[in-house]
Symmetry: C2
Subunit: 372 residues, 2 copies
């Protein structure tokens, strides 16, 4: 059998990511590949670091993109910061908090769990209690924007709490970066990872990360080797920085980095605050329409993510059939529920380039027609 070229249709991506991608970013992606040690490419990487610093609102020198998806960004933070035996307080209010726990254990750490109901933010009071009960805990790990539920946690308060107790923070900003305020330096966050395919509207496959000087200190003071060679950030840094020669670590995903650069140029041109406001405006438009159609949100207003709208599915609906109908009829993708919310909720993403009025209106009309 001969396999033919794959020609995908133009989907409208309103799930939990990958999000809609600007034609400009796709164009950047397909520019001619250059060598990963080409001086022009090294200059582009320097710009990329600058742009990432802006997006993260940080001056951290160690601000780069891991050459793999967000999950690898998560793992990069844990395997570099957690040494065998280190106690880590892990906040779990959705799928990704649980994944953090997995990471702590696989890195040889001890996870102390702070559980909150799915759809609720992390409780600062519970975390404070856990810290009091575990004065030897070294790291506080939490998800800023839970992609599985659409809940936003108070990263500023949690960051402050950690600092008061001399702890480092590991923060999942996969869905928050570019969509809601995230201020790494002002909030004193230490190791923060994100994904390219959410509110940055770049292709999936890269994980922006930033490490504070305190995080770097902890890495440098390790007495045990980092278990991953690929994710060993002390080796990666030799490629991403240095005045003189860059040393080869792995072959960078050159074209994906072009795309990330372009998506960040677009963010820079729009302005971070404007991007946050656009996500909020589009959310309000979508929310008004969904409420008119009778849908209820999983997450309460004060801590609801504008870029990820989790809604309950009406009783008696074959939810997979509705999603298939939207995909087949309108090329419109919305997301299924995940974990304990699977089958009970849909997740409608308004991320990055996807947070546009035309997407909101199409989605509302298509849902209306599917039910009436």
């Amino acid at each position: 059998m001969t396999i033919q070229s794959f020609i995908p249709p133009r989907r409208i991506l309103m799930g939990p990511g990958p999000s809609d991608i600007s034609p400009q970013v796709l164009q950047a992606l397909s520019r001619p590949t250059v060598g990963h040690l080409d001086p022009l490419f090294i200059s582009m990487m320097d710009e990329l670091k600058q742009l990432l610093k802006y997006a993260f609102q940080t001056e951290n020198e160690f601000t780069i993109a891991v050459s793999a998806p967000g999950s690898a960004g998560m793992e990069a933070c844990f395997v570099n910061l957690v040494e065998p035996g280190d106690k880590v307080i892990v906040c779990r209010n959705g799928v990704f908090g649980e994944r953090m726990r997995e990471n702590v254990i696989r890195a040889g750490g001890v996870a102390v769990l702070v559980d909150d109901e799915w759809g609720k933010p992390v409780s600062t009071a519970k975390v404070e209690q856990a810290i009091k009960e575990n004065p030897d805990a070294k790291i506080l790990a939490f998800v800023h924007a839970e992609t599985s539920t659409g809940a936003l946690s108070d990263a500023q308060a949690l960051g402050q709490l950690a600092k008061q107790h001399g702890m480092l923070t590991i923060v999942d900003a996969v869905t928050s970066l570019g969509g809601v305020p995230l201020k790494v330096d002002e909030w004193q966050l230490d190791a923060v990872y994100a994904g390219s395919q959410k509110c940055l509207s770049c292709v999936p496959g890269l994980a922006p990360v930033t490490f504070s000087p305190s995080a770097i200190e902890k890495i440098q003071a390790r007495t045990t080797p980092i278990q991953s060679w690929f994710l060993d950030q002390s080796l990666v840094l030799g490629y991403w920085s240095g005045e003189g020669k860059r040393s080869y670590h792995h072959t960078a995903p050159v074209n994906s980095l072009y795309a990330l650069h372009e998506s960040l140029v677009l963010l820079q041109n729009e302005g971070l605050e404007n991007a946050w406001q656009r996500h909020q405006r589009m959310h309000e438009k979508l929310r008004d329409g969904l409420e008119k159609l009778g849908f209820e949100f999983v997450v309460e207003m004060p801590y609801r993510l504008p870029q990820l709208n989790a809604i309950y599915i009406p009783q008696g609906i074959d939810e997979a059939q509705v999603r298939a109908h939207l995909l087949e009829t309108y090329n419109l993708e919305i997301g299924a529920g995940l974990g304990v919310l699977a089958g009970k909720t849909w997740r409608i993403g308004l991320m990055g380039y996807g947070a546009r009025a035309e997407n909101v209106s199409l989605c509302l009309k298509a849902l209306e027609d599917a039910f009436v």
Copy 2:
């Protein structure tokens, strides 16, 4: 400061990778992104597996692309197959054998080294001796095509040797896949990893891997957890296969996988044997020209890789200046030496789409003009 879009020039990539990429592959790369659970995407992944099986010459069901560069493909093989305390015989005749040793140690294994001179193939006799001295060794790890030197080792003989002693093999085929014969099933190789950016001429960032049923058995019989969550192939498999529903593990690098699919369609259309022959013919053309110019090869004829030509730099030459000259004047990239060969050698790649007569002629003429 406002950062502008990055517009790279069209380079001619004749280094050790990334290699020249066909315009068709770049075009595929920039097709509209679809969701990583979209039924159309899942079908494409099934085709991709079939195409990879063809490229690897295997029927292994577990034949996929790791969502990260070749180095992560290497790590995927080691962290899944090596359990703490496992003894691994590691053949080291260049940079990547040493990297294998690093991987064994970080996975908690015990590395027994078999050293060969850089530029020589792995000595089957030495390996046999090491196996005799270490009857408890479970795995034999070697590099099929050493990218740092251009030496080809006898993967068939080494595979046979391992099987005779009931050992598994981990094989680095990063530079060999698609460029020289590699027959995973016939040679009884167990865990083989490659890179997208060498003789497949796809963009960098993906690592094709294949695991034999024996390798899968070893993974399933583990008594210790796999230290990496991201590279845990038992979890990854839930996304890449299964008759019914695919389970979410991480967000696949959708567009990069389009490009890999397209590059493998091109390989399928050309035919593997034809691709191997083309690499050989182009090597001969280049070799004849280089020898006329007085260059000497690092690797002797019988085990010289056609796709990676390491040559000694003539005395008294500022090698970095010559490479910069080629890049600036002709947009032509050739590779520097790596490891102990740094400063002493150049590496001229003829990989995949880069193995064309026009590239060979340009390279020869540019080198001639640089010296005359």
